[in-house]
């Protein structure tokens, strides 16, 4: 861990000014950043502690959307009464992640910005294009049980590890940011990116930009949703595969569907073509299996993670079954129904 300058601005403007330097980093809950510093993976010159900024509120906008301040903790968000009532899929996804202690510290902005859990990324003695551009990707041909099956590149096969973001992707959230050039709103689908030839860039946030809030419209699928997470132990492990699914069905016919996958790609994975193909179909295991095949049509394993393709297929089907039945997975219940 290196020496760094530490500042704690009181206003968003001051924070943005302090962040306008390539090696400056915002410090929120610190649950990811501090670990990365201890591993010498992140070596910020300046830590901008944003915990004093007024970004801690959860509001319902006049249009009925949920606006979440970037510093709202994962715990506060998951247990907020409005969120539990109207955005239960979000609550469920958050509770599927990490541990209560981590969720107490982790923030909404930090969760969006958390970095991959690729083993090599965390070990500075190995080659990793994401950590050190141009050095190579050790995960290809290496230990890659938790790596991508969709959207990977020859430069990087890492996945984005968040659960919360998968639900946000399914819920068509947008990320509100503020930077030296002003404010902008980035749709969730455009926030995280695929690795391509620039795996060092996880997302489309620019230098000096700060996430201020996340906005999520009110969903219209009632109880017909679920968040299903499959992992190597029953709690406190990142997703091998996770599925956020929601449906609107009328007289057995699918009107609308959203399927977002976690643990499979460098970003929460949504496939609008596949979703569209399900509209007008009769809800049932057969159509669910078809859409799973469609989503996974270009899936590619890397060796250790080959099994994730079949596992993803089955998890998509199960999640859609749960959603169609209006019986979302309860994260406190470790048996999957």
């Amino acid at each position: 861990m290196n020496r760094f300058e530490y500042i704690r601005p009181a206003t968003v403007a001051d924070a943005i000014a302090a962040l306008n330097e390539t090696a400056a980093r915002a410090l929120a809950g610190g649950t990811n950043l501090v670990d990365l510093m201890k591993y010498d993976v992140a070596q910020p010159s300046r830590l901008v502690d944003i915990n004093r900024l007024p970004l801690k509120s959860i509001e319902i906008t006049s249009g009925g959307a949920l606006r979440i301040g970037a510093l709202v903790t994962n715990t506060d968000l998951a247990w907020h009464p409005d969120v539990r009532e109207k955005w239960p899929m979000l609550s469920s996804a958050i509770l599927a992640g990490a541990s209560p202690q981590l969720r107490n510290a982790a923030t909404t902005g930090g969760n969006l910005m958390q970095r991959t859990r690729c083993y090599y990324f965390y070990d500075p003695s190995t080659a990793c294009n994401k950590r050190q551009p141009g050095s190579g990707c050790s995960a290809i041909g290496g230990v890659n049980r938790i790596h991508a099956i969709l959207g990977a590149s020859d430069s990087c096969i890492a996945v984005h590890p968040s659960d919360m973001c998968v639900a946000m992707a399914a819920l068509d959230a947008s990320v509100e940011v503020e930077g030296p050039e002003g404010k902008r709103s980035i749709p969730m689908s455009g926030f995280h990116r695929l690795p391509g030839v620039e795996p060092e860039r996880d997302n489309t946030l620019k230098v000096g930009e700060l996430i201020t809030s996340i906005t999520i419209p009110e969903p219209d699928f009632g109880p017909y949703h679920t968040y299903l997470k499959i992992r190597d132990r029953l709690s406190y492990a990142f997703a091998l595969i996770s599925v956020a699914a929601a449906l609107r069905v009328k007289e057995g016919i699918i009107q609308d569907v959203r399927i977002a996958l976690g643990g499979v790609a460098h970003k929460p994975w949504r496939d609008s073509d596949a979703e569209r193909s399900l509209k007008g179909e009769r809800a049932g295991t057969q159509s669910f299996a078809q859409v799973a095949d469609c989503i996974l049509r270009d899936a590619k394993g890397q060796g250790d993670n080959d099994f994730k393709i079949e596992l993803a297929r089955r998890a998509i089907v199960r999640a859609l079954e749960q959603a169609a039945a209006g019986t979302p997975q309860d994260q406190a219940d470790k048996s999957i129904h």
Binding site: M1, D40, G142, R145, R233, L234, S235, F307, R314, A315
Partner: protein, 751 residues
Amino acid sequence: MSVGEIAHIGRSTSRVDGRLKVTGQAHYAAEYPADDLLYGYIVGSTIATGRIASMDLDAARRFPGVVEIFTHENRGKAAWLDRSWRDEVAPPGRPFRPLQSDRILFDGQPVALIVAETFEVARDAASLVRIAYDVDAHCTELEAKRAEAYVPPKKRSGIPPPPDPRGDAEQAFQDAPVKISRDYRINAEHHNPMEMFATTCVFEGDGKLTIYDKTQGSQNAQGYVTSVFGLRSKDVRLINHYVGGAFGAGLRPQHQLFLAVMASLELERSVRVSLTRAQMFHIGYRPDNYHSVSLAADRDGRLQSIMHDAVASTSHYEDYQEAVVNWSGMMYHCDNVKLTYHLAKLDTATPCDMRAPGAAIGVTALECALDELSYELGIDPLEIRRINFASKDENTNKQFTSKALLECYSEGAAAFGWEKRSPKPRAMKEGRELIGWGVSTGMWDAFLQKAQATATLKVDGTLEVATAASDIGTGTWTILTQIGAEAFGLPLQDVQARIGDSTLPMSPVEGGSWTAASNGSAVQAACDAVKHSLFKHARKMANSPLADASFEDVEVRDRRIFRKDDPARGLSVFEVMHAAELPEITEQGKVSPNLRQMLKYISYTHSAVFAEVRVDEDLGVVRVTRVVCAAAAGKILNPKTARSQILGGVVMGIGMALHEEAMTDHRLGKIMNANLGEYHVPAHADIEDIEVIFVDEKDDKVSPLGVKGLGEIGIVGTASAVANAIFHATGVRVRDFPITIDKILNSPRPS
């Protein structure tokens, strides 16, 4: 109720050190303060084999606050002969010497120690060290070395090699009507106790050191320090009052002990060195291992042939050994047995004992194979174990001092409801989950080791008992206090145990589940000696009411010594000591194994483990919903701490079955998941009901206390019970541990 009526032995008693631990008053090795303390941070090699070509230390040296950087070029003086580096439990070979030369033997090997005024400075400076290596080819993959496996030429002391073959196992296998041959593998595991290894070496001046070390044996570690650095025994005191778990990793001195003492002697200052969690993966580990097991039976299920070959990993510099296959020759009655055990050298650190070393893996393989055979035979898996019950140890032809295994089977089965099991796999289901029930036998040594203790009765009637034992979370503080309290009829708070200090009476390392039996018996012997002495003084007193009594006639309770047949006739401890002008009475107690008896008898702890799993039919997600562990472990000193030991073992067994796995990138020779986020052990959600049953077992031979020890039996048989339950649930047999989702999904489905 008077104190005299309370029996401490056999009574559920909370840990006497529990309060100190939960209030942070129990200090661990890295928590002792010292004046002008320096902090050492270890820089590890980033390659698996080769040589250090050059080191650039300039930036680190210039870093403000850095005091010294030790490498192989300036390491302080230490012993030359391998013999001097060998600790009590070292396997044959050449013990690793930190910073000895430019040779790299394994990834993460310490190559430099940065010593600085603060931990943070040392860690920061460590990131500035640049090292160039000449890299050699390495191999960390056991599979690749299986063909080169060899029988270790020199045996590790205390570890019985496989017994000679008996009968003709191959022929019997050929001839038998029902048989199976299967291969199993159990991945390497890392101990990962909560407390990281750490040493605080306090430089006292006058050539004296006080060392606070995380170790399972203060005297073993103290002996290592004096021998490696050529110090006089009386100048080095080593303390390990509290140990935050160890599971065997603390049996041998770890790198940080050498490095802290070396730096302290060189710099003539106190030095602390702690390992990071990642560095904890570069010390000993449970070896990677493969098994080939062949079993054959007649149609009634009687075993006709047992063949078990195991290959386990070791390092290039030591032949680490465990008793892996021996269990297969004594768990069951069989006339034709052939057991072989091989090692294969990998470019890793030397493995080391981990909870139930040998048995945890060997028994797992055997018990899975026996389960497979039971299905071939169409015999209930519990029944086949009963059918083949061994009434003596057929490896050595000795009698068991006790073996209440049949009671474990019946009491465990009753508690579990085994009779309701439907014999066919995939026959039980609820919702989307397939339900399976599996069983396994467990077995572990019941050792008695040489140990000594003292007991001191104070004039106020309170007692102190002392022995250099360690409490690695097992409850040693508590049971020794109980034994003292029982002997003198005192409440627990009037008894002070002293352990965890090399200056106390001789003790073996805390391992092998022998501490309760060995140190406990030594404490009891010391207490007896004190009572004798008290009686002698009491009888000598003028007009003593005990003048005509013999020792057998008296009892010591409630700070009095009195006649059993007339409790009113007696004296207070105070009166006796006062008359004898003694401030206290101290006596010694000793135990050692009864060699005569050992010619005829042998002692083991046994268990029967029953597991229920629920496996999602499509997704392969496994839940272990119930475990019943019925153990026969002689006398139970403290049912509460005893139960905790079994619970911990069962949890670790579930981890072996489903989670624990060092994921090595064999191209790099590196463990990639060297942290507790990615190296999985069971989380709370993975653990549901665990029921512990202690079956009644009287044993007057195993140890003077009748105690067998419980630290390890809980893990033995648990992984196999879970694996067998998974087969029963799914019809899928996974022979590669841990049994993760991918292996269940990839295994051929039963038709």
